[in-house]
């Protein structure tokens, strides 16, 4: 059996890539996908822990996380589409009406 830590390392890498993506990228959709990557990293470690401990709660939680991710996708896409219709851009550094 593959040791738990392998899964955790992969998930940590996924998570870090997601965080970096959010911080570095400027395209709203790409940022958004990076966030989804973070959620999926969490799913991976949930499943890994769940298998490792032979406790199925973790896999159940993944369902909820997926549902939430889906809901976020929906709302996020709607927001981005609306934004694009008004701004003609989805690059977050070009969207700055509000400022101190």
């Amino acid at each position: 059996m593959v040791p738990l830590n392998y899964y955790l390392v992969v998930s940590a890498i996924l998570f870090s890539v997601g965080v970096l993506g959010v911080l570095v990228r400027r395209n709203a959709i790409v940022i958004f996908m990076s966030i989804e990557l973070m959620l999926n990293a969490a799913n991976l470690s949930f499943v890994a822990f769940s298998r490792f401990m032979e406790n199925f709660d973790g896999q159940l939680f993944v369902f909820f996380v997926m549902v939430v991710a889906a809901a976020e996708v929906t709302v996020g896409l709607a927001i981005i589409v609306t934004l694009y219709r008004n701004w003609r851009s989805i690059f977050v550094d070009r969207i700055h009406l509000l400022k101190g």
């Binding site: 955790l8 998930s11 998570f15 997601g18 965080v19 959010v22 709203a28 940022i31 958004f32 966030i35 973070m38 959620l39 990293a41 969490a42 470690s45 949930f46 822990f49 769940s50 490792f52 401990m53 406790n55 709660d57 973790g58 159940l60 939680f61 909820f64 996380v65 939430v68 809901a71 976020e72 709302v75 996020g76 709607a78 927001i79 981005i80 609306t82 934004l83 008004n86 701004w87 977050v92 969207i95 700055h96 009406l97 509000l98 400022k99 101190g100």
Partner: protein
């Protein structure tokens, strides 16, 4: 047998069900009423909220944990549910008139408002961290939409995108933190975690710390603790004002409720590790929030930074880590609900009646033009500044008292210095209100919505009364908060 138990458990979350049900009814009514003749979803929302409030004060079920340890039905939850519902009631009342001004669809608006309230309620009574996460997301997602509802306004689009991206980012941290807590304990049920931590000392301790750190980061984003606050002013400014008010009050209360539950019920032995972090966060948040608020020219933006600062003050109560601290936190949140909604309410009222009110200059001469409104605004601002005999003072007093009691003298001194800074910028608004107006800034009423005005005025009166009442006779509220806190200790 099974079914009866199920029914009984449903009765345990009756207010929650009422709120959700009302939201659904509003959706359906909105969908089935003909285009020209819209119903009055606001009335429905009011009725639902009041019913839920009434249902709150039923006797609590004997058994605390419902649905197989997923939900708590305890006094703590009741207190916070009351805060959310009162906040929602006020926001609904304040929204009646201003929605047409912001060009927001009505039915959806109220339904989303109620759904997000339901999410907050779920968050306050979650007994399992997954439920907590669900509650968090339910209200977050509803609010993402609410922020973006004035969809023809570019700034609302922008605010909504920013809030959404950072909110989802925070959720990512939160969930990832949950995985480590789960990995450490093998369950996300709070009581199971507490039981496990009570017996085991070292196993997976790194996971626990990492998990709680990530969870804390997630929370910090949501309540805009410095340095996770960057989104707040933009989002607060861009959203429709009632939504801003709702965010400032509801989200803060919900997340603080969750914070208390997690760090008291689930992770009691981890908490001491985090106290220094709370300390730093609290000091930073107060200071940055207040200093940034000093120069704002937009009232909403100013209130946004002030809301950051208030979050820091409330965090001071958490840092105190005592029953007095928690009591103070509860009272503070209750008081903040009234005074902050009141302050926003005045802005909303102005927007509705005159179409202005966001810029600081719009308030020039308000105190003379409309003495009652001006006086109310002044009371709310003084309350926010923490000047007696208002709710804000009592709240701040309790929090400072708890912090002094916990020997956090330096933090208190930072807090005190911050109060002075805060006084300055709240006072600035009062100054503008009571400066002679150039007469040109005031237009006659642009939108006549009698029902809206009445509702908003009612909300203002309610908030004003509560602010003063809480300030002068705090005992009952204090006692209530104190008893609500006992379940955590």
């Amino acid at each position: 047998m099974d079914g009866l138990k199920y029914l009984a458990e449903c009765a345990g979350v009756l207010p929650f069900l009422i709120v959700v049900g009302t939201g659904i009814v509003i959706l359906l009514v909105d969908a089935f009423s003909p285009l020209g003749r819209k119903g009055h979803p606001a009335y429905l929302a009011c009725v639902g909220t009041v019913l839920a409030l009434a249902a709150l004060f039923r006797p609590l079920p004997l058994e605390n944990e419902l649905f197989g340890g997923m939900i708590y039905a305890d006094a703590f939850a009741v207190f916070f549910n009351a805060v959310f519902l009162l906040g929602t009631l006020l926001v609904v009342l304040l929204s009646v008139g201003v929605l047409s001004w912001e060009r927001i669809e009505r039915g959806e608006y109220y339904a989303l408002l109620l759904f997000s309230t339901a999410g907050m309620m779920l968050m306050a009574q979650a007994a399992n961290l997954v439920m907590l996460f669900l509650g968090l997301e339910i209200f977050s997602i509803a609010i993402y939409v609410l922020v973006g509802m004035p969809r023809h306004q570019r700034r609302a689009n922008e605010a909504s995108l920013k809030y959404f991206l950072l909110g989802a980012f925070a959720s990512g941290f939160f969930v990832y933190g949950l995985t480590f807590l789960y990995g450490a304990v093998g369950s996300l049920s709070m009581s199971a975690m507490a039981a496990y931590l009570g017996t085991t000392q070292t196993l997976f301790n790194a996971y626990l710390l990492l998990g709680s750190a990530l969870v804390l980061v997630g929370f910090s984003f949501k309540i805009a603790l410095v340095p996770f606050h960057m989104w707040t002013p933009d989002v607060y400014e861009g959203a429709a004002t009632p939504v801003t008010a709702y965010m400032a009050v509801g989200v803060k209360a919900a997340v603080f409720a969750a914070l208390a539950r997690v760090f008291w019920l689930a992770l009691p032995t981890i908490r001491p590790h985090w106290i220094p972090v709370f300390w730093v966060l609290s000091a930073l948040t107060m200071t940055v929030g207040n200093v940034m608020a000093l120069t704002q020219q937009n009232v909403k933006r100013m209130l946004a930074y002030s809301s950051i600062a208030h979050a820091g003050t409330i965090l001071m109560a958490v840092t105190a880590a005592s029953d007095q601290g928690l009591t103070g936190m509860l009272v503070y949140l209750l008081a903040y609900t009234f005074m902050n909604l009141g302050a926003f309410g005045v802005v909303i009222y102005l927007q509705e009646r005159y179409g202005v009110g966001e810029a600081l200059e719009d308030l020039r001469g308000l105190g003379f033009q409309s003495p009652l409104l001006g006086a109310a605004m002044a009371v709310f601002l003084f309350s926010l500044a923490g000047i007696p005999p208002t709710a804000g003072f009592i709240a701040k007093f309790f929090v400072f008292a708890a912090a002094v009691r916990a020997d956090l003298l330096w933090l208190v001194i930072i807090g005190v210095l911050n109060s002075v800074v805060a006084v300055y910028y709240y006072l600035r608004v009062v100054v503008v209100m009571y400066s002679r107006s150039a007469e040109s800034g005031w237009h006659p009423a642009i939108s006549e919505s009698p029902a809206g005005s009445v509702a908003a005025a009612g909300a203002l009166v309610l908030a004003l009364w509560a602010t003063l009442h809480l300030g002068i006779f705090p005992h009952a509220f204090w006692e209530w908060a104190r008893q609500s806190v006992y379940v955590l200790l």
